[in-house]
Symmetry: C2
């Protein structure tokens, strides 16, 4: 198998030029393959036994449920992303994780990870970089919810997803496949599904983006970036930093 076909390799390559040994160490982490059906819960809040995964294919979401029953999706994970890396440290998970589509993921034993970090320290740095980037995205999501209106927020969200997917070769500025329902979108954007529907219509009518039958199609990428106030600096790494 070509290494670049592994999303995690592809993602880390954007940050560090990896040697063949390092690449195969990553490939190694991907034994222990698991398959999950759509809608399956991987981690429940309060759960003790913590497992970490690398997502190979499919989409996942992590969210919190409020006492009132509404939920807020904190983040979606796409191929190449880690699941539950952080919460391994906590005794109990502080949120739920659920598959959005059928998913292939590799279970990562903490011991394996530590061992490969010991052998290939640059790998540790690269993974830490990935974790920092994830945190930066949560922060950007927070800004979305706090200070962007529904239109900007939705636009920004679609653009950010695009940027992330590009890192693993699953999108271009022309568009991408997106398996999210308007309900999922709503729970991520802090809106009602009905309002999301209207906003998507507005974006369509303005000739900016289309989102139909699982496909996001950008009609005017530049104008959308402008509308959303999208800054990709925290996602773009023009070229690998770690040589």
């Amino acid at each position: 198998m070509n290494d670049a076909a592994i999303p995690l390799v592809r993602k880390l390559m954007a940050f560090a030029v990896l040697s063949d040994e390092e690449n195969s160490a990553i490939v190694d982490l991907h034994r222990r393959r698991r398959t999950f059906q759509k809608g399956q819960t991987l981690v429940s809040e309060g759960e003790r036994e913590q497992r970490a995964f690398v997502l190979a294919s499919g989409w996942v979401c992590s969210y919190k449920i409020l006492p009132s029953g509404t939920r807020q999706i904190v983040d979606f994970q796409i191929p190449g992303d880690f699941l539950g890396l952080r919460s391994v440290l906590f005794r109990t998970a502080d949120h739920d994780i659920e598959t959005v589509t059928k998913v292939e993921a590799s279970e990562i034993l903490a011991s394996d990870l530590i061992e490969s970090f010991r052998k290939y320290p640059r790998l540790a740095t690269a993974v830490l970089w990935a974790a920092s980037r994830d945190e930066a995205m949560v922060v950007e999501h927070l800004v979305d919810l706090g200070r962007r209106n529904a239109l900007e927020r939705t636009a920004h969200f679609l653009l950010e997803l695009c940027a992330r997917l590009q890192l693993v070769g699953m999108a271009t500025t022309a568009g991408y496949s997106c398996p999210l329902s308007q309900y999922l979108l709503a729970d991520a954007l802090g809106l009602s599904a009905i309002h999301v529907n209207r906003i998507l219509r507005q974006l369509r009518e303005k000739g900016l983006v289309q989102f139909h039958q699982g496909k996001v199609v950008f009609e005017d990428y530049e104008a959308l970036v402008e509308l959303a106030g999208f800054e990709s600096t925290y996602l773009d790494q023009p070229e690998p930093i770690l040589l």
Copy 2:
């Protein structure tokens, strides 16, 4: 000086029983003391030279400015908190950091930190725990903005601040000193300052909390927890985990 007077020591003690050597290693990190006046910028977005600090006294906020000029405060830092730990890894800061009050902070050299982690591995774990807790708080803040209305959100925020301050001995369930203006509160809560004002009035009139002249006074802590849907599990560590 009594170690427990150092907020970082006090905070980490909630997580790990630290030996005398470990304690003094932490105290050691606090040489290189710096003082900053109120309203001073510590880190600017896009800045290259990254510095990390531990806050010894005073309050700080980290925020993002949108193209429209509005801002969203991502988090406040209080004594015992790290500043800029994560962004040291990124080449450029992705947000601004500014003092809210006069501040005393110790500059931490990455090399010093790594050295003390090498000597005292349990310290590394404790700090990592603190970082995870910080991330959990950002997530909770995100949920605030996405799915709680202004009243719940404000109540939740005041309670969370209380829980954090308790860890460093600066609050009780009776109340605490809080140097935040309603403008700062508004930028953190994703509301207008005017609305914050009204919400605070409502909370006062319901007999739940008062927030006047820099003091938060809880009148009915239990009822407030109920209203806010406040879950402190992610903050409470009933007793040290690492023995």
